[in-house]
């Protein structure tokens, strides 16, 4: 199995705080890899580094066989890593469909002149974007909500819409930052089905999640962070039995 994302020796300081210290991560193609750790462990920072929102102080980033230096979020998306956000960041005033259509931006080409003249090619591209977005909405189970304003959707639906929007960028790697946060048990179950389906359809998933049952249930391998350091890597069972992980989550045994 080839490695899709290979990140090594990443460090990030905020002033004197070592948010991340020599952290690495390997995501094999077609797998679901989980990134877990207690609050403040540096998971989201790591995510932001991979996706170009922050720049790392050091580290090597290799995606799809090529080195890249994540400085611009847009370029990273262009390269094929799509992400969602821990605190939902939808385009609130737009409809669900429009949100997904924005996701198609980086895989479409119409320029200003083209948009103004609206020739045949442009109309075709526009139609293709609309159809693809509808299909993606149906894929995540929001087919009936296409015309709803994003801000009026329920929490669970907003999370799904973010996934659909990320999928619209045609990513190789889907990076989800706590997709189950705030969901109830039924919604979590449905999310799990969706994530497994996305993997079946050929995408690789990197997952930050607090919900242990979800992570243990679907991830092929886990990386555990604590205080900016990797404390365990391995299959869910290995990680569950690792003394370092138990210590990080539960503290020292007396």
């Amino acid at each position: 199995m080839s490695v899709l994302l290979d990140v090594t020796n990443v460090s990030k300081f905020f002033g004197g705080v070592h948010a991340l210290d020599n952290v690495g991560l390997r995501v094999p193609s077609g797998s679901i890899v989980g990134l877990i750790g207690p609050n403040g462990a540096g998971k989201t920072t790591f995510f932001n580094l991979i996706t170009g929102l922050y720049s790392a102080n050091s580290g090597l980033f290799q995606f799809n066989g090529q080195f890249y230096s994540p400085h611009s979020v847009a370029q990273v998306t262009q390269a094929g890593i799509a992400r969602t956000f821990q605190n939902i960041r939808l385009f609130g005033a737009m409809t669900a469909l429009e949100n997904v259509m924005v996701g198609c931006h980086c895989r479409s080409h119409t320029g200003v002149i083209g948009a103004i003249l609206r020739g045949r090619q442009v109309r075709q591209e526009e139609r293709a974007i609309r159809e693809k977005s509808f299909a993606l909405l149906r894929y995540v189970g929001l087919g009936d909500f296409a015309d709803h304003t994003a801000i009026n959707l329920s929490y669970g639906h907003q999370r799904r819409l973010e996934i659909a929007r990320a999928l619209a960028t045609d990513p190789l790697l889907l990076a989800l930052d706590e997709p189950a946060a705030g969901m109830n048990a039924t919604e979590k179950l449905a999310l799990r089905e969706l994530l497994l389906q996305i993997r079946v359809d050929g995408k690789t998933i990197l997952l930050i999640e607090h919900d242990v049952s979800l992570v243990m249930g679907i991830c092929d391998s886990l990386t555990v962070l604590d205080y900016g350091k990797t404390i365990a890597v391995g299959s869910p069972t290995e990680v569950r039995n690792s003394p370092a992980v138990i210590k990080a989550y539960l503290g020292n045994s007396p």
Partner: protein
């Protein structure tokens, strides 16, 4: 569905027909003065549509928008008036018959120049949003006006506060828009001709705005307005698209400025004060920010409204109290303020807001 389409088409035809006969109706009731008001209303429509691209679509609060209008106006004023040949001997030698630029060429130059300045304003303000951006753009607007006001020394480029006069009137396809046109069976007065010209341009501006809005570019702008980081995560190059919004909005104002200069025949820095920027912004906000029909409605309403007040306030007070208590100009500002407060309280997204837009 078919019924719906034909209904819509019929509505469009009716609207077009009523717009065609509008100057004749208004002219016969209110005289040339009111046709002139209509002409200006159409100029404001173009301006407001331009500002709507920047403020409404991309969400970049611009308080110096009138500067681009000024750039357009002075472009034509310099290229089609005796001013340059009178102040500079070298130019007089080059153009012995005086400078007389073609209006459409001047429109192009005005648009490109304004767009260039739009980008110049955009580059240093890329990281600013909201109030901070508003302050910088406000400063930019004032800088342009103060330059125009003072560039009569050391060399007389803009003729300072005295302004530039004797600007050529519009001439297009051999038709002069300064005198009435004889169509054989009917005489079309100059002001009516200008109305039709401005109407065509306003329609073009509307179509451009609508097509941009319903395109990949328009969606990207709204995405930036809603959440810039999420927009970047969609692969949108926010820097380029913001600059594009500035440039396109400015070019609308540039064209409107060229038309203004030739219509008025005279420009001075007084026409481009902060107050004018605020009026155009009020048109956008009052009408329905980001919603094209609303913006057009806002522009027409706010362009006509002061003239109505001017015609009503003083006669009404004379009739009621026997003398004028409050000046029309003061009344206008009072009612402006009141209208804005009421709109913000009861319809925060504008008079004619987007269907389905929540007011929360």
């Amino acid at each position: 569905m078919l019924n719906f389409i034909s209904q819509r088409r019929m509505f469009l035809w009716l609207a077009m027909l009523s717009l065609l006969i509008l100057p004749w109706c208004v002219g016969s009731v209110g005289g040339n003065y009111w046709v002139r008001v209509l002409d200006f209303a159409l100029l404001y429509v173009i301006l407001a549509l331009g500002l709507n691209v920047v403020v409404g679509f991309a969400g970049l609060l611009d308080l110096g928008f009138i500067a681009f209008y000024a750039l357009g106006a002075y472009t034509f004023a310099l290229l089609a008036s005796p001013h340059l040949t009178q102040s500079f001997a070298a130019i007089a030698v080059l153009f012995p018959e005086g400078l007389h630029s073609l209006i459409w060429l001047a429109c192009l130059i005005g648009a490109v120049l304004a767009a260039t300045f739009g980008v110049i304003l955009g580059v240093p303000t890329l990281k600013l949003r909201g109030d901070y951006l508003a302050i910088v753009t406000l400063g930019f607007g004032e800088i342009i006006r103060i330059f125009l006001n003072n560039l009569d020394r050391p060399m007389n480029l803009t003729n300072g506060p005295k302004g530039i006069r004797a600007i050529d009137s519009i001439e297009l396809f051999g038709i002069s828009f300064a005198k009435s046109l004889d169509l054989g069976f009917i005489q079309v007065p100059a002001l009516y001709l200008i109305f039709y010209l401005f109407l065509v341009l306003a329609c073009i501006a509307t179509v451009i705005c609508m097509r941009l809005q319903n395109s990949r570019i328009g969606r990207a702008w709204v995405a930036i307005r809603e959440d810039e980081i999420a927009a970047q995560a969609m692969g949108i190059n926010t820097r380029n698209l913001k600059l594009l919004a500035f440039a396109i909005g400015a070019s609308f104002a540039g064209v409107a400025g060229v038309l203004f200069a030739s219509f008025q025949g005279f420009v001075s820095p007084e026409s481009f004060t902060l107050w004018e920027s605020i009026v155009v912004l009020a048109m956008v906000v009052l009408g329905g920010i980001g919603h094209i029909p609303g913006v057009i409605l806002g522009a027409v309403l706010l362009a006509i409204f002061p003239e109505v007040l001017r015609g009503v306030v003083q006669p009404l007070q004379n009739a009621l109290f026997g003398h004028v208590l409050v000046d029309a100009e003061i009344m206008r500002q009072l009612i402006y303020g009141l209208a804005l407060i009421l709109i913000m309280l009861y319809r925060p997204k504008g008079i004619w807001q987007k269907r389905g837009a929540s007011t929360s």
